[in-house]
Amino acid sequence: MDSSGGFLVQVYEQERSGLLRFLCARCGDDAEAEDVLQELWLKLDGLATGPIGNGKAYLFRMASNLVLDRRRGRMRAMQRDRGWIAEEAGGEPEAPEDRADPAQPADEAIARQQEAEVLHRAIAALPPGARRALQLYRFEERGQAEIAEIMGISRSGVEKHLALAMKMLRNALSDCGAYGSAASLQREVKQ
C-alpha cells in the first residue's frame, strides 16, 4: 500500500463509526450500509492517489459515490425491466452515428436516449445564470470558485445557480418517470 493509501487507512480507522452512521442514513438500510463500508475498505487497499488534503472529506465522498453507483445500477435495471422508456419527442436531432453503441441492449439505449433528451430540454429551459453555471461546471469542468470568477458573482451565488439547475434537472427526470420504482424500492426497504 502506498503512502496516501496508508494515510487513508488511518483516517478510515478513525472515522469508521461516523462513516457507518453516514452510510446507514444515506442508504436507508443498515445491511447495505455495511456492504458499502466493506466495499470502501477494499477499495482503499491498493489505492494510489495524489496528495490528499482532507482525508475525512475524501473518504466520505468516496462512500457517497459508491452508494450513487449502486443507485445508478438500480435505476438502469428498473428501466430495463420496465420497457416503456422513451417519451415526448422533440429532442435536438443529432448525427445518430455519433451516438450509437451497438453493443448496448436496445432498451437501455432507449433509456439513455430519453434521459439525454429530457436533460437537454431541461437544460435549455434553465434560467440563463443557472444554465451558464451548469455549462461551466459540468461541461467545462470548472470548479465552483473558478465559476464565481468567470461569472463575476459570489461563491454562494454560483451555488445557488447550480442548486437550482440540479433541482430542475431532477424534476425533469422525475416527471418522465426516470426514478419510478427506484424510489418506491427504497420506500419498501425503509418502511
Binding site: 482532507n54 420497457g83 422533440g90 429532442g91 445518430p96 436516449q113 455549462q135 459540468r138 424510489a183
Partner: protein
Amino acid sequence: MNTSQDIFDRAAHWHLASQRDDMDWDAFTAWLEADPAHARAYDEVSLADAALGEIEPPAPLHLAANDDPAQPVARGGWYRWAGTAIAACLLVVLSFAVLRPDAASVYHTEGQSMTVTLDDGSQVVLAPASELTVDGDQLALSGGAWFDVRHDPDRQLVIAAGLVQITDIGTRFDVQAAGQDVRVAVSEGRVSVRSEHLQAPVQLTAGRQLHFDGASGRSLAAPVEAASVGGWRSGQLTYADVPLRLVSADLSRYAGVEIEVPQAMAGRMFSGTLTIDDGNAAARDLSQLMGLGLERAGACYRLVDPAD
C-alpha cells in the same frame, strides 16, 4: 409541493457541497437521519447530476450570462411546440411519397397480401390493406409487411414507416405501421431503427421488437419470440403486452373484423395468440382472453367492460 421542493433544494446544496473539501459530513448525516425522504431526494438529485456525465454538452449559450430573460422563454417555447415538429416530419414523409410518383413503384393491397420482389431478389410480403412504395433502395410502408432481405454490403435498404426509418443488414423482419404507431420485430439478423425522435438509432437483434408510439413519442423495446414474427402470413397474430387499440387495428387489417375499443380501455395490454382466418372467432377469443364483454354494434363489434 413547496416543502418537497425545499427538500430538493436542500439536497442540491448538500450535493454541491459534497464535492468540496469544506463539506460538513456530520451535519449532512444529521440531515439525512432527520427524514427518510431526505435520502431519496438526495439520491434523485445526485442521479440527475451523474446523468449529465453521459450526455453530449448542450449547445453553448448565444448570449452573455446574466442578461436577456427572453432567451429561456423562447427556447422553452420552441421545445413545447415539439408536437408541431412531429406533424411537420410526418408531412415530409408523406409529401416525399406524393411528389415522386414517377420514380417509384407503388404496391397497394386490399383484401389479399402480395409478394413484391425487389431488384436484388429481396422479398417483401405486403399485408392486406397496406401500401409499399419502392424507389430504388428507399422504401416507404404504411400497413404491414414482412421483409426477407438479402445481405449486400454495397447497398442499404431504408424503409420509412411513420416517423421512423428502418435500415437492414440482411435479415428477416416484420414491420407494422398503423398511423403513428410503428412496430418492428426481428426474426433473423439485425436491423437499425432511427427517428428524429430517438437520439440514437436502436439496434434490434433477432428476437427483439420495438414499438414506436408517434403520438407520445415513446418507444418500447421488448423481447419477442422469433418464430412468431410475421405470424400473420400463416394465419396467426401473437402478442406480448400490446395495447388493445393496436390489436384491434391488426384484426381489422388481417382478420377483416372491426372491433371498437372504447377509449378507456385502448391502452390495456393484451398478450396471447389470435387466429385470423375467422374474424368473428378472433373477436370472441380476444374478448374472452381479456375478460371483456363483446357487443354487436352494427357491422362491427364493441368491447365492453363487464364492470361498467
